[in-house]
């Protein structure tokens, strides 16, 4: 490992000594410190990722107004990942090598993260990734501030079981996150006597759900677990409502629908349905009220705040707290100091787990109300320790393989 750290120095400004090489070309001598944000500002993912960029910028502006990090103002360099994993990898390389940033915040899709991972590892730099994902990953060079599966999917299943749900129907888009999520759900169901009545995937962007809804309707499960992504949700929920299925008969639990998506689906089509996240705009805490107010003041009163935005906002603060604990911007020092670093986030207290670089999070089930906002109906007893490989769950033994 030491050898790889040494080899990964990026050269131009590094001196000849080996220790200096491993610190890469980050310039810590001036009054400012550079960090990067890398989000899709164009292409199909721009809808979601622009809001994440805005949240990162808000955190940076607030930190700068409070005196910066270790006395240095943060200089945020924004790049566009253009919804293409290859562009993410390219731009990450540019931020690390040409701009010499101390850390990068961003990424959304799992494919963008997987594309950036080798770049951050080979250059020994840091990525803060703010979106819930399918777990089964842990890199020294990535801090995961969104939920892993045991902080979102598993608590949602616990909630359904508590509500007496005995059978589930799984509907998802045909790609990595829904497939992995459903593998976990099936393992959980097998261990908890929950019957899986059916499992259906549709191509991304699919717009016709009459057959699937017909299948769901005849299967008569107690609840539907929905991992559809993007526009497909609109067609699915409209069809679902129009054939007369209601949240009372057969609730749908969704893991990819946040505050911004509710408007596009039409709140009248999805009102009363459930979602699983760790943060909602409606959370009642002074930290959240301050965050929501600051966000709306900066970007518009009609803009909702959502889970990934909050996780991105938190990631900048966690980086600041870690740097101040380490008293250094160097990757190696930040990695070593990270374990146990805390931040009073809008979602509640979060803490970095030094073993897997994920953070503790409180899981919450929310219900969509007619005003288009999501209200908490259930939350976990406290922050849940991250367990990306689900090692603490005996039923999940075969999954991480």
């Amino acid at each position: 490992m030491a050898a790889s750290l040494v080899l990964s120095g990026c050269g131009s400004k590094a001196s000849d000594t080996e220790a200096a090489k491993s610190e890469s070309c980050v310039d810590t001598s001036g009054p400012t410190i550079k960090v990067g944000s890398l989000n899709s500002l164009s292409g199909t993912m721009a809808i979601s990722e622009v809001t994440v960029r805005d949240a990162i910028k808000l955190a940076v502006d607030q930190i700068n107004a409070d005196g910066g990090v270790m006395g240095k103002q943060i200089d945020l360099i924004g790049e566009d990942g253009a919804s293409e994993p290859t562009v993410f990898a390219e731009k990450a390389e540019k931020l690390i090598k040409d701009d010499c940033v101390a850390a990068v915040f961003g990424g959304w899709t799992s494919s963008s993260r997987k594309a950036m991972l080798p770049v951050f590892e080979s250059n020994n730099s840091l990525l803060y990734y703010p979106v819930q994902y399918e777990g089964l990953e842990s890199s020294k060079n990535i801090f995961y501030t969104g939920a892993t599966t045991n902080q979102q999917i598993v608590p949602a299943l616990d909630y359904l079981k508590e509500k007496g749900v005995k059978s589930l129907y799984l509907v998802g888009s045909d790609y990595v996150f829904p497939q992995t999520a459903n593998r976990i759900i099936k393992a959980y169901a097998a261990a908890n006597d929950i019957e899986i009545k059916g499992e259906d995937y549709t191509p991304l962007g699919s717009t016709d759900f009459s057959t699937i809804v017909n299948k769901v309707r005849t299967a008569d499960a107690d609840a539907v677990f929905n991992t559809l992504n993007g526009d497909s949700n609109v067609a699915f929920f409209r069809e679902y409502k129009n054939v007369g299925l209601t949240p009372q008969d057969m609730p749908v639990v969704s893991v990819s629908i946040a505050e911004e998506e509710v408007g596009g689906i039409g709140v009248q089509n999805i009102e009363g349905q459930l979602v699983a996240w760790d943060y909602y705009q409606t959370l009642d805490s002074p930290e959240n009220k301050a965050f929501v107010k600051a966000y709306k003041d900066a970007y518009g009163q009609d803009k909702p705040t959502s889970d990934p935005m909050e996780a991105a906002y938190v990631s900048v603060h966690l980086w600041k707290n870690t740097v101040e604990k380490a008293k250094s911007f160097a990757t190696k020092d930040v990695q070593e100091a990270a374990g146990g670093v805390e931040y009073d986030a809008p979602e509640g207290l979060v803490q970095i787990d030094g073993d897997n670089n994920h953070i503790t999070k409180t899981a919450r089930i929310g219900e969509i109300h007619p005003d288009g906002l999501i209200y908490t109906v259930w939350s976990s007893a406290g922050p849940i320790e991250p367990d990306p490989y689900l090692k603490g769950y005996p039923w999940a033994a075969g999954l991480s393989g």
Binding site: Y201, G205, S210, G263, G264
Partner: protein
């Protein structure tokens, strides 16, 4: 039994959606031979027309009916603009037309994104179309019945226009033999523009109707474009009845295969069936008999 009825109605509904999306294309591609990759964006223009009209007229029922009419003219005028500025210059270069209209489609998508934003917007369906009707144990959403009725209506009107009106006769004449039609005093330019107007207008009408069941976003046209081309190719170029039969055949095929397999697999199987069908019958179900030498 109610599963069978359910899938029959699903197939019928899917067929009517395919028909509506492909009807305009059966004119511009089927009759004129223009490979218009921006056809999907005309559908999208219809979706956004429905959205804009709804912002002006708050009564959802009235706004739906008004947008069907407004949408027809919005789509039609966009089509004419495209025909006059670009397509007419490349009637003898089909591959260039394909690339150029593909580019135009991307430009239109980005314009929609800049004007309306990338997130899907919500077009509210009128109250009298919410819920479903129970038919022998299966529930059919009223929105789908509306689309079926609209599709049948569009086909009836279009066939009547093509068959009985002077304009329709001119269109058919140009399709069957452009040179002879011209020597008989028919302006093929005017006819081309009219055909393109109607074809593009019908695409936008489809878009207005599709807001009832799907999302309204900048990329919505893409999800219908390929299916629309498939329907026209399978149906055979130049005949409305081919398009109708192909649309319903593909609708039933897709709904039954999907019920017994999965959505992704159903698409694959349907494609394979189409490829085999076109090997046996490359000209599609029906063809226009023409005395033209080309």
């Amino acid at each position: 039994m109610d599963v069978l009825i359910g899938q029959l109605t699903t197939g019928l509904s899917l067929g009517s959606i395919l028909l509506l999306a492909a009807l305009g294309l059966s004119l511009t591609f089927g009759q004129m031979g223009v490979i218009n990759m921006a056809h999907g964006e005309f559908i999208m223009a219809g979706c956004y027309t429905a959205y804009v009209v709804q912002q002006v007229i708050s009564n959802t029922g009235a706004s739906l009916l008004v947008s069907l009419v407004v949408g027809f003219f919005v789509g039609g005028l966009m089509g004419v603009l495209l025909e006059v500025t670009l397509i007419q210059r490349m009637y003898d270069r089909p591959l260039d037309t394909l690339l150029v209209t593909f580019g135009v489609g991307l430009v239109l998508q980005q314009i929609a994104r800049d004007v309306f934003g990338a997130p899907a917007v919500n077009v509210v369906a009128p109250a009298w179309l919410s819920g479903g009707v129970e038919i022998l144990g299966a529930v059919v959403p009223k929105t789908r019945i509306f689309i079926l009725v609209l599709a049948v209506l569009c086909v009836a009107v279009l066939s009547a226009v093509l068959r009985y009106s002077p304009m329709g006769r001119r269109i058919r004449a140009v399709v069957q033999n452009r040179d002879l039609a011209e020597t008989s005093g028919i302006s093929s330019r005017t006819t081309d523009i009219t055909t393109f107007f109607i074809g593009s207008g019908l695409a936008a009408v489809a878009g207005v109707a599709l807001t009832l069941i799907g999302s309204t976003s900048p990329t919505i046209g893409q999800s219908y474009l390929i299916d629309a081309f498939l329907v026209v190719v399978v149906g055979g170029l130049g005949q409305i009845k081919g398009t109708v039969i192909a649309a319903f055949a593909l609708g039933f095929l897709n709904s039954f295969i999907e019920y017994n397999t999965t959505a992704s697999l159903a698409k694959v199987i349907v494609f394979v069936i189409i490829v085999i069908f076109l090997q046996v019958r490359p000209q599609g179900l029906f063809t226009v008999r023409t005395r033209s030498l080309v």
